[in-house]
Symmetry: C3
Subunit: 207 residues, 3 copies
């Protein structure tokens, strides 16, 4: 039950983020719906393909689908209202979605007795795959590969579940709070993963 509520929060956050990107790119109303739906369900769909969940599972999420469509409609009809609150609540609900989806994706793969690598990939794809597809459809560089730490928390969740550290309900909720909090810390304090420019390194070296 609790996981369902968290999944619903995440679905809304992902759908809204897709709709906003589409509006920023001046896509038409259909583009807004498509990017919203793709962001909310694309990560799970790619995960299902890669770990071999029967595709019919995708089409049994009727309730989530309707909630996503409803959220996107709200964004399109009342964009001003949303934008006032999105800066404060958008990142927060998105963190809940990242965390809830990563944990559920990892549990899916673990239940199918896939090896650790598959569990970790399932966690990353479910948590951040939708955002990557969204950015590619909007012709942007995928945000999760460059900005404040995002997908890395999903990876840690995947390891925690794949290695069997988190199994009981209590452990999974603790993991959920951990991932959500650290994602919130990441954008609040601008935590970034190290990056390395090949060219700077080279020039530095050749001096």
């Amino acid at each position: 039950m609790t996981w369902e509520v968290l999944s619903i929060i995440g679905t809304v956050a992902f759908a809204v983020s897709g709709a906003i990107v589409a509006m920023e790119e001046e896509y038409d109303i259909l583009g807004v719906y498509i990017l919203g739906i793709v962001t909310a369900f694309g990560g799970g769909a790619i995960r299902n393909l890669l770990i071999g969940v029967p595709v019919s599972a995708l089409w049994e999420q009727g309730l989530y689908f309707q909630i996503a469509l409803f959220s996107i409609t709200l964004v399109f009809v009342f964009p001003q209202f949303l934008m006032k609150h999105w800066n404060r609540w958008g990142n927060f609900t998105d963190a809940i979605g990242l965390s809830a989806f990563a944990i559920q994706g990892a549990l899916y793969a673990a239940k199918m007795e896939h090896p650790l690598s598959a569990v970790v990939v399932a966690a990353v794809l479910t948590g951040s795959g939708g955002g990557i597809v969204r950015d590619m459809l909007a012709r942007r560089k995928p945000l999760v590969l460059r900005a404040e730490i995002y997908a890395a928390w999903a990876i840690i969740g995947g390891f925690a579940i794949g290695l069997g550290w988190a199994r009981s309900s209590f452990e999974l909720y603790t993991l959920f709070v951990f991932i959500t909090l650290f994602r919130i810390f990441s954008y609040t304090f601008h935590w970034k993963l190290p990056s390395r420019s090949i060219y700077n390194e080279k020039s530095h070296f050749e001096q």
Copy 2:
């Protein structure tokens, strides 16, 4: 039989549109063939993956494959000849393809007893998925998400079939004529779906 003729017209139109985009982007001859094939078959391939059609179905379309390869060859060898006629016939044949493919995609999903959402998604993907992959491979913003109404007609076709409004041969042909005509009206009269720029809205609101 009639559907096969319509599918062949659509396959040619899609393959040619992919080849033209590749030549506009100065891809080499192989890129021209790849974009042509991807545009003609990509939408159906993604649909098959998402609704669970066995993939072998993709490889039984030998005739369509050869027709697509032949069309692309003609485009590459006689581009001047084609361009004279493409402005007049290109959009027309593409409308036939959109319509025929959307209806067949929806019928596929309906036959598998998927819910309405899957039927609609199958219609959209089969009708316009190839064009989206084409634009992404050419690093363009997907046209169908921004320009004159396109994928929306596929969605309406999906609803008509998913809700059981169109079942008999006669109803399906009527639906086909309807989608084709309205797509032609869309580009002839520049019908666009509403779009909403977040920034304009905001500035408008904050004045």
Copy 3:
């Protein structure tokens, strides 16, 4: 055994090329790993989906996965060291990967008794699909569709296997040497496939 060594060389070359593109685009360390992994395994994953190999096959490549992760780590930690040697060895090892992967992809599809078109597509996707996904994630125009002849050698390999010209071990090794050599010739002597700009043609024609 020999094929395994060649596959390992190819996996390293592909993973390193993905990591380098990510560093050129200033992605963070996670982006470097993701692009490396996607380049090394993305082509095979798409092929598996399209020809119907059970997805579990993807997760049984533990050794290759670890080798890829190790190579990417080396690139990220010692970029200067790598860049000194990459120009000489990068294209060479990449040619081995293209050739080994194309042949194995074609053999997979042939073993499943798919028609010729599927064998050729499997060869192309396994050999160059990862590079295409890499370029799209980095928001670049796919290199293999424009630069020195690349995927075309994979296509020739696909035909050789699909038509039954190369069956015995000896024939397959000969094919491997042929594809590798011709890829090396292609970038050494700047062999390009013909391309045709629609606009130049047109202006030429209308003069």
